[in-house]
Amino acid sequence: MRTKAFNPPCLLPHSALKGLKGGLPAWIALIAWVGLGSGAVHADRLAGAALAQQGGPGMTACVACHGARGEGQAAAGFPRLAGQPKAYLLKQLQEFANGTRKNPQMEPIARALSAQQRGDVADHYASLPGWKAGAKAAASSPQSLAGSSLATRGNWNKEIPACFACHGPDGAGILPHFPALSGQPSAYTRAQLKAWQAGTRSNDPQGLMKAVADRMTDAEIDAVSLYLEHPSFSGRRE
C-alpha cells in the first residue's frame, strides 16, 4: 500500500529504511542523508516554487496562466498542473523546448528554462495537491452519462479502452507516465484530443493516446471533456 500521503516529501532510499533496524551505522547514514540530500532536494522544489510565482528574465510567471495553485484557467483553456506526475511534467517541458510538442505560448517559456529549472518547477507542481472530487452533485444529462461511460468503460465496439484504464482510477493519473485528466478544464482536454486527431500533438509514448483519439467522434470528445472537468464517480461500481 503506497499512497501519496505516506511518502515522505523526499523519498527515502529503500535500503536506508530497511537498515534502520540495523543499528548505529544506519542511523548515521540517515541523519547525514536528511542533513545533506533532503535539504538539497527541498531547495530545488523551493526554487521551482519561486520560478512559478515570479518567473525570470524574459519569462512570465507560470501562475499568470496556470493559476495561483496550479489549478489552470478554465475559461482560457490553460491546463491544471498541480498534482501531475513529475516525470510527465518534465517530459512536456523538455518537448516544448525541443519542439516535439508545439505551442506558441509554452515553447519560448520552456526554452528559456534551464534543464535544472525544468526539473525544479516540475517537482514543485507535482508536489501540489491534485484535483479532489467536490460535493458537486452528479450531473446526469445524456451527455454527461456518455462522457462517464467513455471514461470508465470505453467504447470497445471501436476499440476505445476506458480512459481511466490508462489515466488511473478516478482519472487521477498513474505514475510516472500517465497524466491525471480529472479536474482538467474541458476546453483544454478537447483541444488536446483534437490536436492528436489532427496530428499537431504527437509526443505520446508508443502512439498510445493517438490510437484512442483517432477513433473518437466530435460528440464523444465533447462529452468526455465536459465530464472530466467535474467527474463524479458514484455510479462506477454497482
Partner: protein, 323 residues
C-alpha cells in the same frame, strides 16, 4: 455367375487371351468415369456454398438472422470456409449494460458483473493473486477475441483435455479461479458461481446454444515462422509493454491495487494457467495488447513476447503440490 460370363471366361482361358491386367483396366476406367462426373459436381456445390452467406446477407443488414429465428445472431459474411459441418460461425453482440434486468435475478447478474470486473473486492476469498477476471477477458467479459463470456456460456457442457472429463460451465469458471487467479475453487452452488453464471447467461441472451460464435476465445495464430524466442521477446517487451506492465513485469499499482496487472511473479497467474501456454498467450497478446492497439504487433512479435513473458517465475501449478 451368369451363364454367358462363365462361358466367356472359359473361352478366354481356353484361347489363353485372358490376362489379369484386364481387371486393372476395368478398375481404372471406372475411376476415370467417376472422376469426370464427381469433380465438376463438387466444384458446383462449393461455389454455391461460397456464394450463400454473402448473397443472403447484404453487409448493411447485420442485425437480423436470415432465418428470423435467432435474434441478433447472423451468419458472418466472408468468413473462411468452415472446416466441418458443426463449426458454423455466427456473429453475436451481447445486450447493453443499460438493459441490466431488475429483481432478484438482476441482483445476481450485477453481482456477477462486479465479481468479474473487481474480483479482488467481490470474491476476495477465492483469489490468490493480484488479478481480476477482466484483465484477461476485456471489456467486462464482452470483447470479442478476448474469450468473451457470451461465447463461452453456450458451448458447455464440453469435454476438456485439461481434466479429461466433460465439464459444466460452472466447472469451467472454477478452472480460471484455480489457475488464472491462483486461488481457491468456490464451492458448487456458492453465490459467487451462481452470480457469474447469471452474468454469463444474461450476456449470451439470444445466442444460439452449441454454436461456435465468432469472436470466441483468443484467435489462434498460425505456427510462427521462427521458433518463439525469449531474447527477441525481451526487446518487444521493452519497446511495447514495459511502460504499463513495468520493466520488471510486475505491473503498476495505484493505492495498493494493480492498475496495470503483473505478467509474472507472485501476484500473477500460476504455472497451471492457460496463459502459460505460449500459443494462448501469443493469441491473447496479438489480439488485445498493447491496450487499445490490438493487432498491431506482428504475429512473430506476439509469439516472441509471449515466450519471454512465460520464461519467468510464477506461482506453482497447484496440481503438482502434494497435499
Amino acid at each position: 455367375m451368369p451363364n454367358w460370363f462363365s462361358k466367356w471366361l472359359e473361352n478366354q482361358k481356353h484361347t489363353r487371351a485372358f490376362h489379369p491386367s484386364w481387371i486393372l483396366l476395368v478398375v481404372a476406367t471406372t475411376i476415370i468415369i467417376a472422376g469426370i462426373v464427381w469433380i465438376p459436381a463438387a466444384l458446383v456445390s462449393k461455389a454455391e456454398y461460397d456464394r450463400l452467406p454473402s448473397a443472403a446477407l447484404p453487409a448493411s443488414e447485420k442485425t437480423s438472422a436470415p432465418t428470423g429465428e435467432i435474434p441478433a445472431a447472423v451468419e458472418q459474411p466472408g468468413f473462411p470456409a468452415p472446416t466441418g459441418p458443426k463449426t458454423i460461425r455466427v456473429d453475436f453482440s451481447p445486450p447493453d449494460v443499460g438493459d441490466l434486468p431488475s429483481g432478484e435475478f438482476g441482483e445476481a447478474v450485477r453481482l456477477g458483473r462486479n465479481i468479474f470486473n473487481d474480483t479482488q473486492t467481490y470474491a476476495r476469498a477465492y483469489v490468490g493473486n493480484g488479478l481480476n477476471c477482466v484483465n484477461c477477458h476485456l471489456d467486462e467479459g464482452r470483447k470479442a477475441n478476448s474469450a468473451p463470456l457470451w461465447a463461452a456460456y453456450v458451448m458447455f457442457p464440453a469435454y476438456r483435455e485439461k481434466n479429461s472429463r466433460v465439464n459444466s460451465y460452472e466447472d469451467r469458471l472454477t478452472g480460471c479461479f484455480r489457475f488464472s487467479m491462483n486461488g481457491k475453487v468456490p464451492p458448487p452452488g456458492s453465490k459467487e458461481l451462481i452470480a457469474l453464471m447469471s452474468y454469463s447467461y444474461w450476456l449470451s441472451k439470444g445466442a444460439p446454444v452449441g454454436v461456435e460464435l465468432a469472436g470466441r476465445g483468443y484467435p489462434k495464430l498460425a505456427e510462427p515462422q521462427q521458433p518463439p524466442d525469449a531474447a527477441r521477446g525481451k526487446k518487444v517487451f521493452e519497446a511495447n509493454c514495459a511502460i504499463c506492465h513495468g520493466a520488471d513485469g510486475q505491473g503498476t499499482q495505484v493505492s495498493g491495487r494493480y492498475a496495470f496487472p503483473p505478467l509474472w511473479g507472485k501476484d500473477s497467474f500460476n504455472a497451471g494457467a492457460g496463459m502459460t501456454q505460449v500459443h494462448n498467450a501469443a493469441a491473447f497478446i496479438r489480439a488485445n495488447m498493447p491496450l487499445g492497439q490490438g493487432n498491431t504487433l506482428t504475429e512473430q512479435e506476439a509469439w516472441d513476447v509471449a515466450k519471454y513473458m512465460n520464461s519467468h517465475g510464477r506461482p506453482v501449478d497447484p496440481r503438482l503440490v502434494k497435499s
